[in-house]
Amino acid sequence: MSNRRPLMPGTLNLLILKSIGERGLHGLEIQQRIEMNSGKVFGVEEGSLYPALHRLANEGLISGEWAITEQKRRGKYYKLTSKGKKRLHMEIESWRICSEAIEKVLSFA
C-alpha cells in the first residue's frame, strides 16, 4: 500500500518556501525535493506547483531568475528573498503550534 497522501490544505506555500532555501532551484528540483524530503508521502503536481511559484514571486517572497543549465538550456531558478525568509520562519512557528495542538488532542485518552 502506498504511503502517498494529498497535501494538507494551506501547506503548499510552506513546503515550497522550506524546500527552496537560499540556493536557486528550478521547478522540477523543488518538486523532487518536496517529494524526497517528505519520504515520498507528498507529491506536488505541476498544475499546483507553478501557479504557487508565481504567486509567491508576486508577493515578493521568492525571486525567479533565468540561468543557463549545464545542458545549455535556459531555466528559471527561484531563491528565497529576505521577506520570504521571515515569512518562512513565521509559517514554521505557526505550523509547530498547530501540529502540537493536534497531537495533544489526538493523544487525549
Binding site: H26, E46, G47, Y50, P51, A57, N58, E59, Q71, K76
Partner: protein, 369 residues
Amino acid sequence: MSVRDIPGFLQATFLGDLRSTENLNAEIEEELLFHIQERKDRLMASGLSEAESEAEARRRFGDFFDTRQQCIKSYQLGLNLAFKRFAIATLLVVTTIVSTLYTAERLRPVKSIEDHLSQLFADLNSSIASHRHAAVIDALDLASNSKLTSLRQEIYTRVSSLPLPEVIAHLQDVALDSELENGLRLSAIESLGIISLEVPAVNQFLLESGKSQTDSQICKAMLAQVVDRLDCPALQSLVRADDVSRTAKLFGLIELQSRCGKSFEENAIWLADSEVLLTARSLVLTTSENEEQISIVKLFRECKCPPVRDWLLDLLDQPVQHGCLVHVLFDLGQYVNDEVVAQRMEAFAQGADVAIQNHIKRSLALRTR
C-alpha cells in the same frame, strides 16, 4: 486608468516586473517546457527511449495549457494586489499633498494680510487724494477692528501725516478712551502731537484734555505735546486753574520753573505769583511723600523774593515731612538778614530737635551785622 498606465518608476517601486501578456505567455511556456525537458532528460538517463521519455514527461506534467493559465492568473492576482498597494500609496501621497495645500491655504490669509497692509500703507502715501482718503478710512477701520496693539500703533504712526477730520476724530477717541491700554493711547497722543503742529484745534484738544486727565502718564504725554507752544501766562493759568488735575498742575509748575531758569529775572514774576504759590502750598500739603514735598519746595529755591520768603515761613507752621522741613529752613537761610526771618527761625529752633537746631544756628551765624 489601467495598471500599464502607471509610470515606469512607480511600476518598479510598487509592481515590480510588469510584463506584457505576450511576453508573460512566452516566459511561462518556456519555464514549463524547461520542466518537461528536464524531466525527459532524467527519464532517458534512467533507461527510457527518447520517445518514451517525452511521452512520460508530458503525461506526468498533466494539462500544460491549464497550468499555463493558472500561472497567468496567479501573476495577475499578484498584480491586482500590487495595484491595490499602489492605489493606497497614491491615496496617501494625494492626502499628504492635499494636507500640505490645506496648510498652505490656512497660512495664505496671513500672507494676504501682509499684502493688504503693504498696499494700504502704499495708498496712504498715494499722490491721488481720493486713493489716500479711501486708504485712511480703510486703515482706521482696520485699527478699530484689530486686537493687535502693534498694528494699531503702526497705523496711527502712518496716518499722523494726514490731518484729515476722520483721522483726528479717531485719534482723539483713542487718546481719551480709558478702557484702552496706555501704549495705544500714547501712540494716538503722539500722532495727535504731530497733527497739532498744523491744526490749532488739536493743539487745544491736547491742552484741555491733558489738564483734566487723572492718569499721570496720559496727562504728561498730552501736555508734553503742546508745552513748547505755551508761554508763561498760559503755564501760569494752567497751574492756577481749579479744574486741573494735580499732575497737570505739577507739570505746569515744573515747566514754569524751567522758564525761570532760562531768564530768571524776566520770568520769576510768573512763578512768584501769589496764586501759583498758593497752589504750590496746596500741592505740598496734599501729599505725604517726603520726596514730592521736597521737589516742590526746591522749585522756588532760585526765586528769591518776599512772596517766596513768606511762603517758606508759612510752611514752617505746616505739618510737612522732616526732610522737607530741612529744605525749607535751608532756603530760608537766604533771608537770615531779614529780621522777621531770623526771629522766626530762632523761635522755631527752641522746640526743634538737635539736628534742626544746629542747622538753624549755622544759618543764623551767616548773618551780616
